[in-house]
């Protein structure tokens, strides 16, 4: 059984006996996983490639439903309900649980339209409201000063780091309660990475954050809680400051000291 630290804060999400099997696979990629996610804090998921951390992350906004044949069981509790049921409204779920991807994914449209996109999907047409919220989101993502004079320009003209901040602005603009980061800095240079990390830490006042990362230093720098996953199971979930110093499980210790991975 996994060693799971007691979380004193309110919980943003609760995973219970969650099991996930990909359409083409014989064995589950995630096995009977139970894990709480604290509200308004940052939970990092670490573990070697193929351990299931991205698979778990993509379960929180039901991304797996885009591809047929994937199977899951167990529960993920969000705002008092199990979001894994068939009657869950995926559109509104994904508005409340946003996601940032491994690579910047600027849409083929202007900077302004990129940030406004999620709001427009919700039917917000009022120009002044859109302008106000786009500006605020860009400020939240620390991008406003760099792009305020060229909001009408194609977003693909921005640098990689700027594009990733644009994606964060776009996700923040719809005011989600949870943000999922899937290795958000793996395609970025060190300076852009530092900028994104700073941003993630600032965001936790307003949203609960789960971040998947390959980079243990990153997990140590930004997160409050760290979960270590191995072969589809959660081995240990602890306070980041404790776990990197005194891991309770032997596997965790071996991983963070670089004995495997």
């Amino acid at each position: 059984m996994a060693t799971i630290v007691t979380i004193t804060e309110e919980k943003a999400l609760e995973v219970k006996d969650f099991e996930f099997t990909y359409a083409s696979a014989d064995a589950p990629s995630i096995k009977k996983l139970t894990m709480p996610v604290a509200k308004n804090s940052i939970t990092a998921l670490i573990g070697p490639s193929g351990c299931g951390k991205t698979t778990l992350l993509r379960s929180f906004n039901r991304m797996h439903d885009l591809y047929s044949g994937n199977q899951y069981s167990g529960e993920i509790i969000f705002k008092g309900r199990n979001i894994l049921t068939a009657k869950e409204d995926l559109i509104s779920l994904r508005i409340q649980i946003g996601m940032i991807f491994q690579k910047p994914t600027a849409f083929p449209m202007s900077i302004f339209d990129n940030v406004a996109y999620g709001m427009r999907l919700q039917g917000i047409k009022n120009k002044t409201e859109l302008q106000g919220r786009v500006e605020k989101a860009l400020q939240d993502a620390a991008l406003w000063n760099e792009v305020k004079d060229r909001l009408k320009h194609d977003a693909n003209g921005l640098s990689g780091g700027q594009q990733q901040r644009l994606c964060i602005a776009r996700a923040v603009a719809v005011e989600p309660e949870v943000l999922l980061f899937d290795e958000p800095t793996s395609a970025l240079d060190p300076i852009s990475t530092a900028g994104i990390e700073e941003l993630i830490v600032e965001l936790k006042n307003r949203v609960s954050i789960i971040i998947v990362t390959h980079n243990m230093q990153q997990a140590a720098r930004v997160s409050d809680y760290t979960g270590f996953m191995y072969l589809g199971e959660l081995i240990e979930l602890g306070l980041t400051e404790e776990m990197f110093v005194t891991p309770k499980e032997k596997l965790t210790e071996e991983y963070i000291t670089g004995k495997f991975g």
Binding site: N61, M63, L66, S68, I91, S92, R94, I95, G98, M99, F101, Q102, K103, T105, F107, P108, M109, Y117, G118, L121, Q122, C167, R170, A171, V174
Partner: protein, 285 residues
């Protein structure tokens, strides 16, 4: 020794590549040379004259140009929405089990020789058009419909390929913001694949405008400009296919050559626009 072989190989390929360019230049020269009589006799009036009267030695290309433009336009108007629909279905909506069989059959349709479309059009489509729209069935409209059916598979297949180049992660980003399938198709996939899609349409346009066999059967080769689409008409390739055997005077012969020169220039222009403007970005990616 091996250096020598490398050199020989490089020269051989260079020669072949240059030979292709020479071939194109040769064709151009021959068309131009043979057109000189007609160019001298009619000048620019050749393109604006509506009479094509071999017995009077009077040749005007406008009816054929009009026929080419209108039949191609009809074909595009009919084929574009269908091609986009088929492509969207194949790239985004079709269940995995359907995707590949339907995709392959569409590619097979694109491989049907155009003469077969022509025969099929004459024997099965002409009566249908006659029954529904009136006239004798051999008409501009029939030509447009047959052309649209002929270019549809190519357009659909290339449009699907262009749509498939949209990275999954980009689509997922839009879904992750609460987008529906339709939102993702219209806001992400189509804008992303736009250049490739337009390029494929222009290539199809080039193919339609030069198409000979499929329309020769169903158009009628009548040199008359009529705004009634159920009337028979002609196009540049249809005229060429029908009349070379009848060209009994050198001016008649030369006029046909000028017509073909004009067609070559149009086709070249269209393909160049498609290749250099729209399909370049896709190639670089």
């Amino acid at each position: 020794m091996s250096i020598l072989i490398d050199k020989l190989f490089s020269y051989a390929t260079k020669f072949v590549a240059i030979a292709v360019l020479l071939l194109v230049a040769w064709i151009f020269t021959i068309l131009f040379q043979n057109s000189i009589d007609s160019i001298e006799a009619f000048g620019f009036d050749f393109l604006t004259e509506t009479k094509w009267a071999p017995n009077l030695e009077k040749f005007g290309a406008l009816p054929a140009i009009y026929g080419s433009v209108v039949s191609t336009f009809l074909a595009m108007v009919l084929a574009v929405p269908l091609a986009i629909g088929v492509a969207i279905f194949l790239s985004e909506l079709a269940p995995a089990k359907l995707k590949s069989p339907v995709g392959v059959s569409i590619e097979l349709l694109a491989a049907i020789p155009s003469v077969i479309y022509g025969m099929w059009g004459l024997f099965y489509f002409v009566p249908i058009v006659r029954d529904i729209f009136g006239g004798i069935g051999i008409s501009m409209l029939t030509a447009g419909i047959v052309l649209s059916i002929m270019i549809l598979p190519f357009m659909a297949a290339v449009t699907r390929d262009a749509m498939n180049t949209t990275p999954d992660i980009l689509k997922e980003s839009a879904y992750a913001l609460g987008g529906t399938k339709w939102d993702v198709i219209k806001d992400i996939i189509i804008p992303y694949a736009k250049a490739g899609i337009i390029g494929s349409f222009i290539l199809a346009l080039g193919r339609a405008i030069g198409e000979t066999m499929a329309v020769t059967f169903v158009m009628g080769n009548v040199h008359k400009i009529s705004f009634d689409l159920t009337e028979p008409a002609t196009s540049i390739p249809v005229t060429l296919a029908n009349e070379f055997t009848e060209a009994d005077t050198s001016l008649y012969y030369s006029s046909l050559f000028e017509l073909s020169l004009f067609l070559l220039v149009i086709s070249f222009t269209i393909i160049s626009i498609a290749k250099f403007y729209f399909l370049r970005r896709q190639r670089a990616a």
